[in-house]
Structures are given as C-alpha cells and as structure tokens.
C-alpha cells in the first residue's frame, strides 16, 4: 500500500512538469503584451521596451521557461506583474477562502445529495422520487450564477436575512455554498440513485431480505456500501471543479477566491499568477485523485488487493478497477 502511494506521488512529478510546460507555452503565445498593458496607452514605445527588458520578456522562449522552472523547483513562483507581490503571497491569500468554500460546498452536497439519492432509489417512481429528480435536473441545468442572483435577491434584498456579498462571518457562507453546490447536489443525487438502483436489484440483496435482515441494514450496510464507489468518484470530481471553477460565483458574491485571481491574471497577461495558480490547482488535483483512489481501497477490499498487486506491476488503473467492482 505504502509503495503504491509513494509511486503515485512520484508519478505526479511528470504530470506537473507537463502542466507547467503547457500553461507556460499557452501564455507565451497568447496575444497581448503585459508591459504595454501595465503602462497603458500613454506610454512611449521606448518606455514599453525598457519595461519588457526589465521583466525579461525579450528573452527567448527557452530562456524564459528554464528561468521559470528553476524558480519553481526552488519554490519561487515569481512576482505578480501588477501588484509586484510574490505569487505565493497572492495565492496563499486566496487559497484558504477557495478551499473552505469548496469543502463546505462538497460537504453540503454530500449531506443533501446522498440521502436524497437513497430515498429516490428506495422509493423509485414515487412522487418523492419524481420531485427529487426534477429538482436534480434543475440543479444541473440552471446556471449557478443565476441561482446566486436569485438567492441574493430573495434572501438579501427582500427578506434582508443574509448579507449580499463578502465573506466576513458564518452567515456570509450560506448563499455562496448553496449556489456553488447546486450542481454537485444534483449530480450526487442522480449518481446515488442510479448506483443504488443497480445494487438493489442484485441477488445478494434479495438473499439479505430472505434471511430476514432489517430494511435499514440492507440499505445502508449491503446496498450503500457497494454503491459507494461511483458516488465517491463523482464527489471527487465535483470537489475539484469547485476549487478552480467557482469564478462566476466568486464574482457575484465578491469573494476573493483563486478562480477570480486567475481570471484577472489571464486578462492582465499576468503570467506568473496564471502559471502559479494552475500549478497549485494541478497539485491539489493530484493529491485529491490519490486520496480518492485510497478511499476506494478503504470502501472496497477487492480494490485494496488490486493495489497491493499493482504496486508490483501497475497495470489496471484504479478507476477501471472501480468500474469492474460495481458492474459485478
């Protein structure tokens, strides 16, 4: 097991290098001159040229890339072009906010989504099931910034119960968490329902019923545990999406998050910020993936044995293994 973990961690290094290379190349070849953007239309060409030289933008692609890479290896992500603050400072100022929001949103989604999915599956085709599924459909199709605006209008403008923007206390989290997690709630509900439905029809559930096991135990011990693998996958993906993809919600609620920092960075051609942000998110994705893979093993002993085998010879990916585990 430990060997598996170590191996996975080592494997993330080429992935991260690839991410750095791709994002660096993309930013390098994008139109728009950061020096001109900083100085504005008023500046003379000589001044822009001087600043470009100062920022090292006139060096060749390879020189710039190697310089950046050396910095990253030494833990230096560079200096933001606009604020002149270290990129690490900028990112660390935003990361806790984004992380907290992602954790709360995911927790909220789990707390609502899994029970709703179970109820839907157990009472398939009941009114409750239909209502849940329609709501889930809404959750998936509704643009979440629109939901965010509706929530603010209702809870802030009409009722005056919740503050409209910012993150200065517990009350401030309610609306952002609801609107960010709407999609996750819906996805998790649907996944739980379909996964549960599949499991409930299995022979061993019938066996459990036949031997007189209580319905609660059947659902939670026999069915849910076996249905959990695809749900975990979905939760992991949703968590990852909320980490970097809550930009619009951050905008609506004026939350200083990582997504907003990066979008601003792209607009301003603030290369160090964009590269740093993407790198941090890539690292978090990698950690998250590893964590989810380990969680599979925890939930399903069959996968655990696969890991032990595969640490000698890594052939089948955990996700494929998980898929097999379910379809049995």
């Amino acid at each position: 097991m430990l060997r598996f973990v170590v191996k996975r961690i080592i494997m993330t290094i080429p992935v991260l290098l690839g991410v750095i290379f791709i994002i660096f190349t993309m930013m390098f070849f994008t139109d728009g001159d950061p020096a001109r953007l900083i100085l504005g239309d008023d500046a003379l060409p000589e001044e822009v040229e001087l600043l470009r030289e100062e920022m090292g933008l006139n060096d060749s692609f390879l020189e710039q890339f190697l310089r950046y890479l050396t910095g990253v290896i030494q833990g230096d992500l560079g200096i933001s072009y606009t604020t002149k603050l270290p990129v690490t400072t900028e990112i660390m100022a935003r990361l806790p906010v984004t992380f907290k929001l992602a954790v709360f949103s995911t927790l909220f989604a789990i707390c609502i989504g899994i029970p709703a999915g179970i109820i839907s599956a157990v009472r398939q085709y009941s009114i409750l099931d239909n209502v849940t599924m329609v709501l889930a459909l809404l959750g998936i199709t509704m643009p979440n910034f629109w939901l965010a605006l509706l929530l603010t209008l209702f809870f802030s403008v009409y009722l005056g119960w919740l503050p409209a923007s910012g993150l200065y206390g517990p009350l401030y989290y309610i609306m952002p968490v609801i609107s960010i997690s709407a999609l996750s709630v819906a996805t998790i509900t649907r996944m739980t329902r379909s996964s549960m439905l599949e499991v409930i029809r299995q022979d061993y559930i019938r066996t459990a019923r036949a031997k007189g096991q209580s319905e609660g135990k059947i659902i939670f011990k026999h069915a849910l545990k076996n249905a959990l693998i695809p749900i975990i996958t979905v939760i992991g993906i949703q968590f990852a999406i909320t980490l970097g993809g809550a930009v619009v919600n951050e905008q609506v609620f004026a939350i200083p998050g990582l997504g907003k920092l990066m979008v601003d960075g792209i607009k301003a051609r603030n290369y160090p910020i964009v590269q740093g942000g993407v790198l941090v998110i890539a690292i978090m994705f990698s950690i998250l993936n590893l964590f989810i893979d380990l969680l599979y093993a925890f939930v399903d002993p069959r996968i655990k044995t696969q890991y032990q085998k595969s640490s000698a010879k890594m052939k089948s990916t955990p996700v494929a293994a998980a898929g097999k585990g379910v379809s049995q």
Binding site: T30, D31, G32, D33, P34, R36, L37, L39, G40, D41, D42, A43, L44, P45, E47, V48, T82, T83, K84, L85, T89, E90, A93, R94, Y125, I127, N130, V131, M133, V134, L135, L137, L138, L149, L150, T152, L153, F154, S156, V157, Y158, G160, W161, P163, A164, S165, G166, L167, Q251, V252, F253, A254, P256, G257, K260, L261, D264, K267, A268, R269
Partner: protein, 536 residues
C-alpha cells in the same frame, strides 16, 4: 406508468412557473426592461415589501455609525498616485492624499497644502506651503516632499501627460516651506493638473525607504485617513489620522471593498451592506433611483467615446472613405441603442464640461452621400474592413450596429472580439483598422481631453498630421484663456474637417449612495472626492 409521468410533468411545470414568478418579482437585476421591473422598483415604501432590515426612517444614519464602506468595481494594483492611471486607485487616494491646491465649486483654484503662489515668469512658479502639515508617519510635510512628488510625476509614464512639462532638474525647495516649480516650456494646464487628484503629495522619506512597489501597497500621505490594511482581492482599510491638520471627517474608518460585478454592487447598496457603490451599470440606475433608501448620483463624464479609424491603413487612409463611413452612421440611434439612452451624441472631440469645447458635429446621416463618396474613393462595389471590439456590452452593441449601418453602403465589416490585452497591443502596434474606444481623460483641460491626438501617440489613429501637433503645442503653451479657446476651437474644426476618427458619445455615469450620505457630488472625472462625505 403514464400517470406517474403526467404527475412528474405537472410538478416540473409548477416548479418552472414558480421560478419564473420569482424571476419576475425579483425586479430588473439583469435586464433594464422598464415594464415589470419598474413597477417593483418604483413601488412606494408601503406597497413594495422590498424594504430590507434597514431601520424605519430612510434618510437617518444608523446610530453610532463611524465608518464609510464604499465598493470599487476593480481592485487597484497600487495606491502610488504616480504609478497607475486607474480611477479606482485615485478614489481611495482622495482620502489618503492631498494636493497643493484645490478647485472650488465655481472653478476657482483655492489654497490647500499651498497657502499662496506667485508666477515669476512664463516657466517659474513659487508656492508657499503650510507649515502645520504632517504625514501619516508623523514626519513634517516640507517643500522637499512637494518637489519630490512633482518631479516623480514629470518622469513617470503614467503621469507624464499631466506633469511632463515640469523641469525635474530645476524644480526645488527654496526653503522648508517654499517650492520653486520650474517648467521646461510654458504649460497652461499646470494649475488644473496640480488641483486634480493626480498631483498628490507623498512622503519622500517613506517612499524612498519602502521602495516604490511596497509604498504603493502601504502608502503614506497627508490626508485625513491613513492606510491600515490591504486584503488582496477583498478590501482596503483606512483609519482616521489623528494628527490631521484640517477638519476631521465624520467617519473614523473607511473600507474600500472590491465588488467587480455591477449588479452585486447595486444589491449590496440596496441591502445596506455598503454606503457607496461606484460605477453602477445602466441597468441598475432605475432601481437605485426609485429606492427610497438609496440615491443615484449621475452626471456626464469628462471622457468621451469615439470610433477609431486607422489613417495609416487601407481603406481608411483615404479621407473620402472616412467621411463615407461617418455619413453612413445614424448617430442618434447608434448612441441611444448602445448607451441605453444614457449618453448624448458626441458632437465634438472632447466633453462639453471642458474649457473651449465647441460644437462642430455630428456628421450628417446621409447614406446616399456616403455611397457616392465611397464610389468616388475608388470602392464602387464596397470594401471589406475589420472592426475590433472588447467584450463589454456597450462596445459590442456599437460594433453590431456599426456593422449593420456600414453594411448599407457596401462596407462589409468583420467584427473581431478581443480582450483588453490584445486590443491594447494591436492598437499600439498600429494594427487596429477600426474600433470603438473610450479612453479616460485625466483632467478637465482640453490638453487632456485631446490626449489621443498628439503625433507621437502610438495608438492606431496614426494621422501623422503636423498641423494637429502644432495647434496642440500652441494651446498647451498659451496662458491667456481667450486665446486658448480660439486655438482649441480651430483644432476641433480641423479634426472635424479631416475626419481622422469619428466622435461617438458623451456618456453619463453614476454612483449610488445610501440616502443618509450627503455632500458627495458627482465628479466628471469619475473620482468623487470622498472627503466631502457627510452623514445626515
């Protein structure tokens, strides 16, 4: 089975209806449709239960209020007044910094940090400074600091358009409280520049010790509020400066919050989360205006927008083509559509609020004449053109309408949507064939109003016309107001005649305040002086 499906269908419909009802009653957040939204917005306090948790009498200041919370639409990168040109940074700066002189309501220059001044000759000015002023770090404000600030202004690429005429080598402190300001050449807008928020006085010692980057993130000025904290992406906090020489403000704390989304700023203002919302989008004006708890402060900006034509590129290097393009535009409708009725058609090359403005246009709307001119210029079968626009609503609408109108005379427009960075680069490389632009005019002087016209400017107009530069230089160096007005009048006529670019609109702008905020007037520079704020 079918029954179940019907039930779920019904449920779905109920849901959708419920949501649309919600959407409607929630007013005109996204749209500016006057009909349903207007109703709820203009509803009297009794009728619309829209009132929030705010206490009963609308104009009363909440008890014990001692802070001012205002929302900016963009986060400034720095607060060093000589290292940026963004109105958001200057707005915060109005509380932190002060200038040598100020301009009163009737347009006269009045003493501020300088008590008196004297013009020795065409290029020499002597200012006597107050001796009771200290910086936020406790050190005394001296002529040394004033000279340092202005020399900085003359050399920085952000403010050289205002202070570039100052001679950095000859400007110096004569004694602790006397500043001798030397110019390289006569410069008529000098006092306008000094009185604008761009001419802020900062501490030489603090800036040199901290370094220019760090100073911009923790500035030291002489104003009534001093810098306290900057939470990146979220807010800038200021607190009252105990040693302030002048009248203290009615608040002890000021917070500049960064709320980028326009409707979010409006909602926050309505719910009382903030006291002032800067830069409100047109779609929220009506709601803020009719809400009894908020006040809309609107006015005409000193900046204007125009349609840039590239004079170094086919086909717009031909005067006949440019005029054909101008005559093909139904300006009245174009401006009304794009600015939602909140702008006047630009009939000259700088805003009416600026000295020497002369109505010279707009170009007449005459499709036949336009077609004839285009044919005369050698394009009887029309011509293809690219038009650049940024992705904001106003510019996109302008581009769409322009494409349509130019299409009527056979000019086929290919709209290119780009972001600010790309646009800025293309524009300054001279590669922008046509585009709508709205540069910020830094001060209320024709020299700044005509800032796009100097011959050395790299933006894509590229007229290369020495006559324009001669007139600009003459206007800049002439102190007598009547003569200046004549010079700029001639220049506006000439620009209209040549049609190097087409003036588009004099847009209005607005910020919103809670009803208990008084004294804060609209500023055409869009940088309201926050030291004017009073609580009712």
């Amino acid at each position: 089975m079918i029954k179940r499906q019907i039930i779920s269908l019904l449920l779905a419909m109920v849901m959708v209806l419920g949501l649309t009802a919600c959407g409607q009653s929630s007013g005109n957040a996204g749209s500016n449709a006057p009909a349903p939204g207007g109703e709820s917005a203009s509803a009297a306090p009794g009728g619309g239960e829209s009132s929030t948790a705010a206490p009963a009498p609308t104009a009363a200041t909440p008890a014990g209020k001692d802070d001012l919370i205002f929302a900016l639409d963009q986060e400034p990168a720095t607060l060093d007044p000589y290292m940026h040109s963004k109105q958001q940074g200057f707005t915060v700066g109005t509380l932190i910094y002060e200038t040598l002189i100020k301009k009163d309501a009737s347009g006269n220059f009045i003493p501020w940090l300088a008590t008196e001044w004297e013009q020795k000759d065409e290029t020499t000015f002597v200012f006597k400074l107050r001796d009771d002023v200290t910086f936020h770090d406790g050190s005394k404000f001296t002529a040394e600091d004033a000279a340092y600030s202005l020399i900085l202004g003359s050399q920085s690429s952000f403010s050289a358009n205002l202070f570039g005429s100052i001679d950095p080598d000859a400007t110096k402190a004569l004694d602790e409280h006397t500043l001798e300001l030397k110019l390289k050449a006569p410069y008529a807008p000098l006092f306008e520049a000094l009185a604008s928020f761009r001419g802020a006085m900062l501490s030489k010692n603090a800036r040199e010790t901290a370094g220019e980057d760090a100073f911009g993130r923790a500035p030291v000025g002489t104003g009534p509020m001093k810098f306290k904290e900057w939470v990146s992406g979220d807010r800038i906090e200021l607190e009252a400066y105990e040693g302030y020489w002048g009248e203290t403000l009615p608040f002890k704390k000021a917070v500049a919050r960064i709320i980028v989304e326009g409707s979010a700023r409006a909602i926050d203002l309505e719910t009382g989360g903030i006291d002032i919302a800067m830069e409100l989008p047109f779609s929220d004006w009506e709601r803020i205006e009719y809400n009894p708890e908020t006040v809309l402060v609107a006015g005409e900006s000193q900046s204007h927008s125009f349609i840039l034509l590239n004079n170094s590129m086919e086909p717009t290097n031909n005067e006949k083509v440019r005029k054909a393009l101008a005559y093909a535009l139904d300006m009245e409708n174009l401006v009304k559509t794009a600015y939602q009725g909140q702008a006047a058609v630009a009939d000259s090359f700088y805003a009416p609020s600026i000295l020497g403005y002369k109505q010279v246009g707009p170009y007449e709307y005459n499709v036949e004449k336009a077609k004839a001119l285009l044919a005369e210029a050698g394009y009887p079968n029309g011509v293809k053109m690219e038009y650049y626009t940024m992705e904001n609503q106003i510019n996109m609408t302008v581009a769409e309408v322009v494409k349509n109108m130019w299409g009527q005379i056979g000019v086929e427009v290919d709209i290119q949507i780009v972001d600010l960075a790309t646009q800025t680069q293309l524009n300054n490389d001279g590669k922008c064939p046509a585009a709508s632009m709205a540069p910020t005019v830094a001060m209320a002087d024709p020299d700044a109003g005509l800032m796009i016209w100097p011959i050395y400017r790299t933006i894509s107009i590229r007229h290369n016309d020495q006559h324009i530069q001669d007139l600009l230089d003459k206007g800049r160096q002439t102190y007598a107001e009547a003569d200046r007005i004549a010079i700029y009048g001639e220049l506006q006529d000439y620009l209209f005649e040549k049609c190097y670019s087409i003036p588009l609109a004099f847009p209005r702008a607005a910020f919103g305040t809670r009803a208990y905020i008084t004294g804060l007037e609209f500023a055409p520079s869009l940088v309201p002086d926050l030291t004017q704020v009073k609580f009712a």
